[in-house]
Symmetry: C2
Subunit: 672 residues, 2 copies
């Protein structure tokens, strides 16, 4: 049995119908990035300040240890950045690879390096950027992002923190007026941050002029002691991310200079004259990059769980014929679409980030209206993708857990840890229901207003809802006109057409219901489901554009292009199969078509069964990143798993409490 496992693993690896290394290079983003990644993993592997060294087990340490170790990693990475020992790209790659190893590091570092930095740069004016950026870039300060409050989260409008302008002293006075106004769950606030940006109601001359962002110093830089007027505490134990010091903050008549109000879009004169933003929506733009970063986090975290479940699935044998458990339909039909999703997300991610560059510096949009149009589109895409991928990723993690049976219940096999870290992604950064509903509203509005509209002429990139331009024709289709569903295996445009038609029909039905008096709330679940379908279709379309060509472009290895084509088709069918209820409800898909879609979907999954090890190997995670003994690259899992247990604290021997609670019972003699 234990000899069989490495043999099975080797056979699976040999079965790949593509060049695994070529796919790995493609996944990494090219040869250069691939080489950098290899080098970075080599460097961090033996660095005890970046990767816990045996016999310490990352999946075993306490909250206090996780906190300290995560800060140790941050300190070490910054040391590497500042020392110039490695060139800049490699140094950055070291940080990225440390992200893979410890999601708490990723999140805690991200709070300063992305959230805080983004707010200062997207909402601060030139002087403010100049004032803060040098300290931010050189890590002489650490920032955090004080948005949510104990009683309020995504609905920013209801936030209670108040900044009142005191014209006498030219200062703002920040106050937390109630317990529910306590800034809550603020990453890096309780131990790391010296500074924060705070979003707050802004009162000027007795009038609330709305929400603004302020820069506030929380702590003295040298002693780490809190500043007067700042009360900070720790959120305590969380489901995951124990390495991140999430905190709460209360302000008591804290005074900051007027110039700490971020003033790219708004401004306040010395005399108290307030100049509001051209459109309040620009203030929310900072939330988009946070959501986009989730694309990367998804592929980074979920792919690890998939890697673990896949490797275990091919070496574990069980059942009447002692077969590999991966051979069960229940296994591979759950795992393969999820693996495909990782690849689809990777492509979509490039597309979305390119579009986001248009919105920020890259595209140089100075007209606020055009800017807002682009932002609406980015908002819809980022909101729906956060919703879809956040939820689907939760499902995938649960699938991975179940696929590993009892062994996933061991903390040492990492899936539990990943799942617990993931949790926050589905509720943080905007509730998924709300985000999907917002995306749906935009789609409903576009369909309602622009049936005749030929795309969005202002947009500098293809809209995710481009199919609405084709609404009239799609609505007129009574049934899906494909009688031989098997054609979809070679022609993704057939699937795309079906998905677009279903989308337009569902959106139209919801608009009809609204006209007939239903409330948005009565249609909430339907709207959310349509927004999910919209997003899954968008991801499919992006990949069809890239991988739907008859021949591989010159810059992609042929076998890589071929497998990406197969994964794209699979994703399209997965979407059509998963949302076939939407097609049936509209009378667009007939029962036989639904059966045929299912049949083809199952067949394509089966045809990819033998490719699972190659597909997951290409993600390039070393064993020390995956951590799980049941996911060892060489397949020799059982011995390693057993040895892991032997190094655990108190793994053998009589427990200290034996004399207190067990012996008094067991030493009694039976009455004769």
């Amino acid at each position: 049995m234990s000899l069989q496992a490495p043999k099975d693993m080797a056979a699976e690896r040999a079965a790949a119908e593509f060049n695994i290394e070529a796919l790995a290079r493609f996944w990494a983003g090219g040869d250069k990035k691939y080489e950098l990644q290899k080098k970075a993993y080599e460097i961090i592997k033996d660095d005890p300040e970046l990767v816990l060294q045996s016999p310490k087990n990352f999946l075993e340490i306490s909250r206090a240890e996780m906190r300290e170790f995560t800060m140790c990693e941050i300190h070490r990475v910054i040391q590497i950045f500042l020392s110039g020992k490695y060139d800049k790209e490699l140094a950055y790659e070291i940080a990225r690879c440390t992200n893979q190893y410890n999601e708490s590091f990723s999140m805690r570092f991200f709070v300063h390096d992305s959230l805080f930095r983004n707010v200062v740069n997207m909402l601060g004016n030139k002087e403010q950027q100049d004032k803060w950026n040098d300290d931010i870039d050189n890590y002489r300060i650490f920032g955090c992002f004080a948005m949510t409050e104990l009683g309020h989260s995504s609905a920013l409008r209801d936030l209670e923190t108040v900044a009142t302008y005191d014209a006498n002293s030219d200062e703002f006075v920040i106050e937390s007026p109630t317990i529910t106004s306590t800034k809550w769950y603020i990453g890096a606030a309780s131990q790391t941050a010296t500074h924060t940006v705070v979003i707050s109601q802004t009162v000027i001359n007795g009038k609330n002029v709305g929400l603004n962002w302020f820069v506030v110093q929380l702590r003295e830089k040298t002693s780490g002691k809190t500043m007067p007027g700042v009360i900070v505490g720790d959120i305590g134990s969380k489901v995951g991310h124990q390495g991140v010091d999430n905190g709460w903050i209360q302000f008591r008549q804290l005074r900051i200079p007027r110039s700490n109000m971020l003033a790219k879009w708004v401004s306040l004169d010395r005399d108290g004259t307030f100049h509001p933003a051209p459109n309040p929506a620009v203030m929310y733009a900072t939330l988009i990059p946070e959501r986009l970063s989730l694309l990367i986090v998804t592929t980074q975290m979920i792919s690890q769980a998939l890697n673990i479940a896949t490797r275990y699935g091919v070496v574990r044998r069980q059942g009447p014929k002692n077969q590999q458990i991966m051979d069960y339909q229940s296994h591979y039909v759950k795992l393969i679409p999820a693996i495909s999703f990782m690849y689809m997300m990777q492509s979509a991610s490039t597309d979305i980030n390119d579009n986001f560059d248009v919105l920020t510096s890259g595209g140089k949009i100075d007209d606020p209206l055009v800017y807002l149009n682009h932002m609406g589109e980015m908002h819809a895409v980022s909101a729906s993708i956060k919703g879809l991928s956040g939820w689907y990723a939760s499902d995938i993690l649960e699938t991975c857990r179940r696929c590993c049976g009892g062994h996933a219940y061991s903390a040492y096999n990492a899936i539990g840890h990943i799942t617990n870290d993931w949790g926050v992604m589905t509720t943080g950064g905007g509730d998924n229901v709300v985000l999907l509903q917002q995306a749906a509203r935009l789609l409903l509005y576009r369909l309602e207003q622009k049936l005749e509209f030929d795309d969005y002429p202002d947009l500098k990139f293809k809209s995710s809802s481009h199919y609405i331009a084709d609404a009239k024709r799609l609505l007129a289709l009574k049934n899906w006109n494909v009688t031989d569903v098997n054609l979809c295996a070679r022609d993704p445009s057939l699937v795309e057409e079906a998905l677009n038609a279903i989308l337009v029909k569902r959106l139209n039905s919801i608009n009809e219901s609204l006209k007939n008096g239903s409330s948005h709330n009565d249609l909430l679940l339907e709207s959310v489901r349509v927004a999910e379908l919209h997003c899954a279709t968008y991801i499919f379309s992006v990949n069809v554009t890239k991988f739907g060509l008859p021949q591989a472009p010159a810059n992609i290895e042929k076998s890589v292009y071929a497998i990406m084509q197969r994964l794209t088709i699979l994703w399209g069918l997965h979407t059509l199969h998963t949302y076939s209820d939407q097609g049936f409800k509209e009378g667009f898909l007939a029962p036989q078509q639904i059966k045929d879609i299912e049949k083809l979907y199952l067949e394509i999954n089966k045809s990819l069964r033998s490719q699972v090890i190659g597909l997951t190997d290409a993600w390039g995670f070393p064993d020390f990143v995956l951590k799980a003994p049941i996911a060892k690259y060489d397949g020799d899992i059982y011995q390693t798993y057993f040895e892991t247990l032997l190094t655990a604290p108190n793994s053998t021997g009589v427990p200290a409490y034996h004399d207190k609670y067990i012996k008094p019972l067991t030493e009694r003699e039976a009455k004769k």
Copy 2:
């Protein structure tokens, strides 16, 4: 805001259209049980050996502390049992209420009190029962249940542990021949148990006569030291159940007397003549009660999470109209069917346990064939209900988590803890896919063989697949003949008929596919889904029998009966809505019917929106059992939540590592 919350809670409570206390008495199983429960909660509440007292927080303590505290609880409960201080029923209720408080206690105690005891009594002969039962009943020994191995779980056939009969010494020699044969994940093995039952291949005169169960002493009773030939260790950190000492066991030429082989159904003569069981299936009967116990665990654990999410849902306000979040369709349509499921499971549980009594002592079945028929039925019911409820419960927990937003990510709000404890229920005690497939196979077989069969004359209770007796008629129905779907709101038999028809049609289609050459594996996911539907329908039917009468029976309070009727209807529609794909695949449900079902389903959910607090209050959990500050009975959640954080270790102040990792960076001066 913080004053609003208790007002909201009070208003929700007042809105109950039934007598909440009457429902609570009904839920508890009658007045007597209700009073006992109240008394037991009062007793354990202030007992520091059963319930951790403030400022210690159960959701904060380390694995080592959980281990010791859980054993402390077991010791205390046994002390109460033995002392005679309370009468027997109350003492038992104290144990049951401690189960609610700490699932690790429940599981660790259950291993001895149920698993070990059951094997000895279901598989041991009279002398063996006499030999062990007095020590078992008086807790002079603690037993565990050594079944699964590192390399093998539900497929018992492949277990590798070997017991070889040595006729010279009249002993068995037990050996773990490989690393994969290590008994793995054995609850209570690593610290608690003095004894275990072991399932092992049995070799007699050089021939493997199959699997048998043996009683083995693991430890010296007084010192707790392991016996010669026994090596035991701990599984280490797990996703949940940290209070249970799951262990691994290896045997090295361990010798036990022949009389330790459990011999109710098999026996071995002194000369080595082996008398096998009349049917090997009787050896597996012990697994059924384990699955049935899951029914209770489900209502016990999942209802707590639902209670938390429901209470938070009515006091949290958010959104454009600052409404209670429970008012969002996405909230109540997810929570209410889950609440209904708790009530449905409670009824089904009574039904199943009554049937199981027929199988064991109560029914006195001596004919092995009749016994096996009953066991087949019990197996199908217990397997499919474990599958359906195990998975649905996971979904419910995820729903509860999402419904509480970021606050569910705090360990102190308990949902994470419940989820982590729950994990093992979906993979332990038989993999859900395998169990549901087994149930499906039985259904397929029955349909195939017995189209003309009028029920199962041998059965002493109504079979869960009674509808197969009606297969001919159901198969002949082309469409669902209900044009006014709203009638279903008053006539559950319409829904039952639809579900039965869909079941028979789906089973028939799968049988056809098998005949046309598809393998069972190619139909695995379809089979699993049908088995889920079978189980959901069975639960519905049991409740229709109880609550489908035009008038409440005399022994049930009228308002209680009325709400149970509404919950039953809701469950039926939930099932029809959830599995509507099964109906449209068969062409049995038309698009318009599916829309109408959805509409009615949503309406009934809406009509129950105002009842959620009453429905969850009736479960009777005191605040100290729920633990979550956001679920406080009086609705005053924010102050309590905040205070909980203040008592957490290191909740304020500069962390010890500040000088090491933060100060060296932040104290640097910017270059001028």
